[in-house]
């Protein structure tokens, strides 16, 4: 299904209204210091009232069957509000990994729970080195002799790793990197929260000590699945980043209009004005690249992988620039704990490096361009 421009505007307005009511700055600050790092009541409302978790899950699996364009609108708004919720890990990582696996049984078994918001999930790929390249995975899976599998190893930087009901995990078999699913209460699974630069996004270290697991998709298909998931997840992340960057720009422009020094609004000084104009340029490029990539994904265009790499790089830089300059425009007040600017700075840096950072995404772009 595809929403037209006016439906997208309506979607944005209803998500913004919801988040302004349920995820104001006070709520974000409270959740940042709580376990779990989200409010289960608000998560249920997001699922029941707005049907957000199932928005882009196919109708045959209990979702509403929209695409990345619609999901992008929701993610821009979530990024803008720094919404603390298991949305990204569940919808952009786990659900997309299930769909990319082509495993209809696994999809039929797990996606309806995800679509309804009853099940939260995540995807565990990176290990101590932090790389999302499946070729770097050293966790191992062996057949348990009974039709199932047993996973051994350690995973790091697992988003929502202490709370997700379902953990999709990439482990190595004799056939290569392979996707498995593990349930939260499986024996031998231990999760330990990690301290994070961005406290609005929880991460955990997971230890798999002979954990029973179910194969998802074909054995050895982990590399192909991850390539697809990373394209989609980085476009989802790009939408979050574009939303956060737009918020930083608005905050800076608002402040530059009212803050007076030397008897004039600071926004009338060209040094400040040009900084804001530079932020605007970055934000416009970020929105264009993430929305265009989402559109190409939904059209099934062969240009999508290049566009995904462009959106990821462009939005990562735009958000980091906007978050840094937002503090600079605010001056001393922007450096205080009480001011929200640092929350965006933390999210911007954390998002930029989540999937490896510039060194990785620049090479990915050149690779997708055949250079």
């Amino acid at each position: 299904m595809t929403a037209d421009e006016s439906e997208l505007r309506e979607l944005r307005a209803s998500v913004r209204e919801f988040l302004e009511a349920k995820s104001p700055e006070e709520a974000v600050r409270k959740l940042m210091e709580s376990e779990p790092r989200f409010d289960p009541a608000v998560w249920s409302q997001a699922a029941d009232q707005l049907r957000l978790p199932g928005l882009a899950i196919p109708e045959e699996y209990g979702g509403d069957g929209f695409g990345l364009v619609e999901l992008g609108v929701v993610l821009e708004e979530m990024g803008r509000a720094l919404f603390c919720a298991p949305f990204f890990a569940t919808v952009l990582l786990a659900a997309q990994a299930l769909l990319a696996s082509g495993d209809r049984d696994a999809c039929a078994r797990f996606l309806p729970g995800i679509a309804s918001g009853r099940t939260t999930a995540t995807l565990a790929v990176a290990e101590d080195h932090g790389s999302w390249d499946p070729a770097m995975v050293s966790a191992r899976a062996v057949p348990d002799g009974d039709g199932g599998w047993t996973v051994r190893g350690r995973k790091c930087f697992v988003i929502d790793g202490t709370t997700a009901d379902l953990i999709l995990v990439v482990a190595r078999t004799v056939a290569g990197p392979t996707l498995f699913v593990v349930e939260r209460d499986a024996t031998g699974l231990a999760a330990e929260p990690m301290e994070t630069l961005d406290a609005t996004r929880a991460m955990a270290r997971l230890t798999f000590d002979a954990v029973p697991a179910t194969l998802v998709g074909a054995e050895g298909a982990g590399g192909r699945i991850m390539a697809k998931v990373l394209d989609i997840a980085s476009v989802g992340l790009a939408a979050e980043q574009a939303g956060g960057a737009r918020r930083c720009l608005e905050t800076s422009a608002d402040y530059a209009r009212v803050r007076h020094q030397f008897g004039r609004p600071i926004g009338s000084f060209q040094a400040v004005k040009h900084k804001c104009a530079d932020m605007l340029v970055q934000v416009e490029l970020a929105e264009a690249s993430s929305r265009e990539a989402a559109r190409l994904a939904d059209e099934g265009s062969p240009d999508f992988p290049v566009a995904a790499a462009v959106a990821h790089a462009c939005c990562s830089r735009a958000y980091m620039t906007a978050a840094m300059e937002n503090i600079q425009v605010h001056g001393g007040i922007g450096f205080t704990w009480e001011h929200p600017a640092h929350l965006y700075f933390r999210r911007a840096k954390s998002s930029q490096l989540l999937f490896g950072g510039p060194a990785v995404y620049h090479e990915r772009l050149l690779d997708r361009l055949g250079i």
Partner: protein, 427 residues
């Protein structure tokens, strides 16, 4: 998302173009060492070729005009189509896919900016005399605005216009009267050497605040006392001119707008300065922004595995491709009949920056081959673009002025307070 009206218009435009011209060749695909390796941003042609170039431009404009695409936004009584600026932008975007003569010499200043100004402010017989001629491709117009002392601060123009029958004119005698005599110097005047008319901003009241002492005139470029001198720019070519006005006599009926009301006229002209969308990859410099061309260059110079250069190439391509996406989205808005927002200004800023970065990136890849001509294909030719890039951050509004406009009009930041000195005309 395309509106019916826009779709019909686009279909008609394509039918016209298909009947008259071929599709543009793809300059982004490259076979290293083959074809034209020119990287000229400015034309800088020898006089004979320049004349042919202008002739081809006039000819294509005539064909456009005969087929209803000569003046898309113009009123029907002057040979226009009476459609919206959105139709106009859409036509430009579609035409950029075709191999048509470059009509910039007529269209950028004359048809795009001066025509609408004449329409809005000139007397009826001036409109009748010049508008059909311009949009048929017969007359070329230039903009006599900038002066050595009036660049970004255009309202400080000092070229004097004095009414012949008695001292400096006052607003109270604004009714039609005797001839005016113009004296002064204009600079950075594109296409002056090809123009039949020029729109001049002059100072008629040096005692009034600077925005309120300006009067606009339409100057026949063959009038005695008008001297056009080519201005050689840093590329070595001469794409602009200086125009000296010495005792140039202009009848009062060639005045546009009120006496001392020329700033309003100038604003009409400047408001019509349009960015275009969808034409970024066109022309010889399209290669500079093409991933295929840049990667072919890195292979040819054995630098494709240099990690530092690869990282810089990736950073450059992120901006190039993101700008393309911005343009693609603006174009889709146009097709839906919606005027784009700040995308056009952002696109203009990025175009200059991307080409500048591309030229410097390529220079660093080429190393010594760009400081002296080895005769190797596709190497020293890049000096043409390299030397043109500083202009891209200045012409049509400096980067600094563009940023002021973005911050003030899009973000609502306050203007700089105007000091008393800034209101006055520097004598």
């Amino acid at each position: 998302m395309e509106s019916d009206d826009m779709r019909d218009f686009a279909t008609e435009a394509r039918r016209f173009l298909d009947a008259h011209v071929a599709k543009a060749p793809d300059r982004t695909a490259v076979t290293w060492g083959e074809g034209d390796d020119s990287m000229a941003y400015f034309s800088s042609l020898p006089p004979e070729e320049e004349r042919e170039f202008v002739q081809r431009a006039r000819e294509w404009q005539r064909i456009r005009h005969e087929n209803g695409f000569g003046w898309i936004t113009g009123p029907v009584e002057y040979g226009g189509r009476g459609l919206t600026p959105v139709h106009d932008l859409l036509y430009d975007a579609i035409e950029s896919e075709y191999d048509v003569a470059d009509t910039g010499v007529l269209s950028v200043i004359g048809l795009g900016m001066i025509g609408p100004t004449i329409l809005a402010h000139a007397q009826p017989h001036i409109r009748d005399r010049w508008l059909p001629a311009m949009y048929r491709g017969d007359a070329i117009a230039c903009q006599l605005f900038s002066e050595p002392g009036a660049g970004s601060d255009l309202a400080s123009v000092a070229t004097r216009a004095v009414r012949e029958d008695g001292g400096p004119s006052r607003s109270s005698e604004a009714e039609s009267g005797g001839d005016w005599v113009l004296n002064g110097q204009k600079v950075w005047t594109s296409v002056a050497q090809h123009s039949q008319i020029g729109l001049a901003l002059t100072r008629t009241n040096p005692d009034a605040p600077k925005h309120r002492g300006i009067t606009a005139f339409l100057v026949p470029m063959d009038a005695p006392g008008v001297e056009v001198r080519p201005l050689r720019q840093m590329t070595g070519g001469a794409d602009f001119n200086e125009v000296f006005l010495t005792d140039v006599r202009i009848p009062d009926d060639h005045r546009l707008g009120e006496v001392d009301g020329g700033w309003t006229v100038a604003l009409t002209t400047l408001m019509n300065e349009r960015a275009t969308v969808g034409s970024e990859g066109v022309g010889p410099v399209g290669a500079a922004l093409s991933p295929d061309h840049l990667s072919a260059l890195m292979r040819a110079t054995w630098t494709w595995d240099d990690r530092a250069l690869r990282a810089r190439l990736a950073e450059l391509l992120v901006d190039v491709l993101a700008t393309e996406h911005l343009n693609a989205r603006a174009l889709r808005k146009l097709r839906g009949g919606v005027a784009p927002g700040p995308e056009m200004s952002v696109s203009k800023l990025m175009y200059g920056q991307n080409l500048t970065r591309a030229a410097h990136f390529v220079s660093d890849v080429l190393g010594p081959r760009i400081i002296a001509d080895t005769g190797q294909w596709g190497t020293y030719a890049w000096t043409e673009l390299l030397l043109a890039t500083p202009a891209l951050r200045i012409l049509g509004g400096t980067e600094e002025i563009m940023k002021n406009i973005l911050a003030e009009r899009v973000l609502g930041l306050p203007k700089e307070p105007v000091t008393a000195a800034a209101k006055e005309v520097r004598s």
